[in-house]
Symmetry: C2
DNA sequence: GCACTCTTTGTAAGCGCTTACATTTCAGTG
DNA sequence: CACTGAAATGTAAGCGCTTACAAAGAGTGC
């Protein structure tokens, strides 16, 4: 693999000149530029990004921490972030934290050791203190889908409470009064926020928010099935079921159908997230759009603007409001 | 950020010694090791991976090229590869090629410029010649889901022809004789292989493989809908529909239902890939399992074994055979 | 106490670039 | 034609590590 030295030799110029034509920030005469470019082409020269990074203290790469590499939610997030950064020649280095404190921590350390120019974190397990310390360091950090007190400028979040509220409101507006809820793990902020919004909507509508109408799931399909079984058995008069994400809604739909309930005639179901497959379900799932792509794009823009001094016109927003996506799984009571 | 130099100073030893305790391959006395470790801890020292890579010519990272960062198929692939490599302390650098020759090429060049120790490529658009040249270079390369002549040892593939055959056979065994097919873009090798298998099964069963029963889609949901419309309109006597992937099967299901056809009573549908959501569909989709995870794991193992000299017991296999996943969308005619 | 070997530690030369600073070139001036 | 000063190019010192080689210690046996 040819080095810059061989190129300089072939072109009959110094190292520095070759470096200059590569980076294009200093003036180089057209004649020498030509010579260098020819030499590069002939040698099939390809700059060593590692060496460049070491010397310039700039890696042109942004670290992205997600919880999982699979699943629509993270797929959309990774995809948007990557596209936004690639437009400006920046690259993402993706790592997975698996919602485990140690693994998230290790993943972040890894990104730091790779000397990323900035970090975009979808960190769920690591502590607020850790994130705060991180943000205070000179490494630019952005947090996605999590609000940490005192770090507002670094956080990009969805108003989950509002989302939970909207889902319940949608059901109430259709005349439902007996409403079941399958929640995510309550220790997760987004899950508890959604639930809080749900309760607020019920209360405002003068419906008692009964705790035993709430089943705590784990955001996975199977717990949607379990939740459905539990609710059907104990509260057969429930007419609407709201799930804290689309996976669980899907599980609930399957379980409901197996129990002979037709959707939405016998039971209305509302999901949350609006992941890709929610539209493939039958009936198509009425759900709450979780603008994860907007979050990703905004985070990427923040980095471009604050780290790479890119001229970007769009304003940076930090709070995103979800909205109802009306499809066919919710109907009049 | 502390450097190795500061650590050596604090510990009262030389640079080399610090480097030695970090890498642990040379003998260092317990006493000095302790001193160094203490110094590291006190300074919060974190090795600079970039500098390590430059000096050692080893990045401990493997480049992974996928077509998209979203979607179950690639999600599963990325996830498996990452997990397998992480076990041995290796990391993946993921890039997306978007099934575009230039972008795939650029992505590969990027991975090369990052000096990945090896490349795992799910390359669809780049030419066979390019891949061949790449494999001949000293950079270890593995190709996933594509067979390139002369590169057998580097390729990990699914027997798509067999998969297509199995899908058709499954329908035939249920007594279907009028069978529609929604294919992927025929220029794609996997799409044409699946179709070839389909035709072989029909022929072997003494059923004429009619070209107009085949609709060429693009692997996306919407083309499944289009295909369904086309077939229903022109060949209303079709009793079974086989789709070259699950997305299109899902689209076809939607369109069929909208046309008043019940599945599988009026029309049986078989998919291909067995992506996560195929199980969420209603009725649960009968499909062909595409062992993409096995491919990914095997590719990762190949790298571990051949590049990092890891002791791995499992044999390396190159051809994976798909199988039928029986669910509820296919029934007797 | 000495020559010898085997460990442990130190020295210093890179790895392939960037960039501050020094030097050269050269068009434009009086 | 010598003299400027801006523009173009070169020189060399790092960036933070690894590692071959050299040097120094620590055991041995006599």
């Amino acid at each position: 693999m040819a080095t810059i030295y061989e190129v300089s030799e072939a072109a009959g110029v110094s190292l520095a000149t070759v470096s200059r034509v590569m980076n294009g920030n200093t003036k180089v005469s057209d004649r020498t530029r030509k010579k260098v470019e020819t030499a590069m082409a002939e040698l099939g020269y390809q700059p060593n990004a590692i060496a460049q990074s070491l010397a310039s203290n700039r890696t042109n790469s942004v670290g992205l921490l997600v919880s999982e590499l699979h699943g629509s939610y993270f797929g959309d997030l990774m995809s948007t972030v990557e596209q936004a950064l690639k437009l400006y020649g920046k690259h993402v280095i993706i790592t997975a934290g698996h919602v485990d404190e140690k693994r998230e921590h290790d993943a972040i350390e890894f990104l730091k050791s790779r000397r990323c120019d900035a970090l975009i974190l979808h960190a769920e397990a690591v502590s607020d203190e850790y994130l705060t310390t991180l943000c205070k360091s000179d490494l630019p950090v952005v947090v996605i889908n999590r609000k940490v007190d005192g770090l507002d400028d670094h956080c990009f979040v969805v108003d989950n409470e509002k989302g939970g509220y909207l889902a319940a409101q949608a059901a109430i507006q259709q005349g439902h009064k007996e409403i079941g809820y399958i929640s995510g793990p309550k220790f997760k902020k987004d899950a508890s926020d959604r639930l809080a919004g749900h309760k607020r909507a019920l209360t405002e509508a003068g419906i008692e928010a009964k705790d035993d109408h709430i089943f705590e799931g784990d955001f996975h399909e199977s717990s949607g099935q379990e939740g459905m079984h539990y609710l059907k058995q104990h509260f057969p008069d429930i007419t609407a079921l709201i799930c804290a994400n689309d996976e669980m809604a899907s599980g609930a739909m399957t379980a409901a159908r197996e129990a002979g309930l037709e959707i939405p005639q016998h039971l209305s179901i509302v999901g949350f997230d609006n992941v890709l497959f929610s539209r493939y379900l039958y009936p198509k799932l009425t759900t709450i759009n979780n603008p994860i792509q907007s979050l990703g794009e905004m985070a990427a823009r923040w980095v471009l603007k604050n780290v790479y001094d890119t001229k970007i016109n769009h304003a940076i927003e930090h709070l995103f409001v979800p909205e109802v996506v009306e499809r066919h799984s919710l109907s009049k009571r």
